[in-house]
Amino acid sequence: MRRWIRSAALATTVVLALAACGGGGDAGGDAGTGGVPLEDQTLTISNWDAYTPEGLIEAFEEETGVDVTLALHTTNEDLVGKIQAAQGGGFDLVFISGNYLQTLIDQGWAAEIDHDLIPNLANLHPEANELGYDPGNRYSVPYTWGTTGVCYRSDLVEDEPTSWTIFHDPPADLVGKMTMLGTNPWLLEPALRSLGFSLNTTDPAEIEAATRWTIEAKENLKGFDDTTFYSELVAGNTWLAQAWDGWCNYGIAEDPNIRFVVPEEGSDLWTDTMVILASSENKEAAHAFIDFVLRPENGKAVAELVYYKVPNRAAMEQLDPKLLEQFPNLGIPPSELLTYESLRDPGEAISLWTDAAAKIKSA
């Protein structure tokens, strides 16, 4: 018995000792500010999983000598929550959707981008410089953009869906086989579009009406699904889903019967952007990274490997036409995208939106 306890105590001590010397790790690059050569800087980036093309980061590391750490986040909210709790620190560069940018800017956590350090900005579509959430791209550089629509199995769904109202008044055979996106603003989008309201509304009456519409639509849904809807479509558990265009492409890649359509009432224009945090001590490396990403061949890699549209005109022009054939929504031109409503941060009114979501989901 004593032997057992002694060996347990020894094991514990060893493990603790190992942990003490092996475990530590600094939270972020503490290379000095200006004057530090690029190769000595480090970069801590946060992005969604599989949203950075394979090999991109390694290529950047090799070329510049910068040591890159990639952290992953699942949603914009998680990322903002982490930055908030760390008082604006924790990362050098983050990938974040445009409608979440305002809160970073307002709290002084987003650094102003020095356009001189990013010559490849010229590769962007001119339209991508005037997006509603950050005109002139002062604090962010767009990475991918796209719209939201209906992603469905054309072999299972009889008539091509043309309207957002399909969620509210579906044909009988679609009841219980549809999903909608569960996070704002996309949660209320079908309702707002069907009722003719703006996607960036802060009017309590409009939000209330949209909430009621969505609660009624909820009866017809299989559920709210932000993440698994494309594999559910492939498996046939879901026949029709509200989906982001890029995501729908993942489904199309596995089942060519899947199609994407933007309803006639119109849709939103979302943008995922790259933002440098003001607290970063490696801003030069961050700018270099953004410039690297904006190279035509790298923009092309993003589109080819992630199946999303990039606002990088030089990259899109180089895209393999076969890819455009397989994924039609990659070919949606910027002129069309800009007819959709660019998503903005609701600011103070966000509580109205969050309460609406709570009402819908608890109904």
Binding site: M1, R2, T44, D49, A85, T227
Partner: protein, 266 residues
Amino acid sequence: MAREVGRRRDLALGAMLAVVYLFLYAPILVLVGLSFNASGLPTAWGGFSTRWYHELLASSDILAALRTSATIALVVTAVSTTLGTLLALGLERTVRSTVLDTLVFLPAVVPDIVLAIGLLSSFTLLRITLGFQTVVMAHVVFDMVFVAAIVRARLGYFDRSIEEAAQDLGASRLATFLRVTIPVLSPGIVAGALIAFTLSFDEFIIAFFTAGPRVVTFPIRIYSMIRFGVTPVVNAIATAILALSMSLVLLALRLTRREVRRAVEG
């Protein structure tokens, strides 16, 4: 007659345990089956294949995350089992107060998201660098409470006359503690340690906030894979972990057979 009733009772209870096992292992079996399915999808059997395992072995980041979680869990188990057992003994035998009882068990009672945000805010306020240590600290504080509760339940009927007997026979207080008290408590301690390891290894939200950008635990890695729904590689991971844990446990049993068996068998 009594034996028949006893056997019928045993059958009923055994059936209940069988139901529990069925319930627990049904999804696991599904995962195991899917991990060998070439198509990876539950709707179609694409033939037997080990491709998902090859993919898993090639995913160095998933393996690294597993290593990280295991290390964290081991350290956390060691620390929290010790602290928890001490707490249980202290609460049961020394200072006895309902208020202290309630307060101490609060960490198990707070929604983890509150604890997670509180810890991150505190670490930031005190300028403590986020990393391996902060996750360990965060896990220890609620794990030790679970250990304490389990050991405490055991202490509830501890027959102190054994200890008194030992002391009457000349054993010192420390010796009594080490050679009588702890061994009698060991089933509770072992159960507590098992729970502590499980809770830490599987824990997501607190680790997510306190790990910082560089420490990636296994749940964090999986959660960020959710973007694509669960890819078939994940089934391979689940099966592999199961196989690994089974062999680890068998190994542990083999090594400590005598002591542990005596502990659990009482």
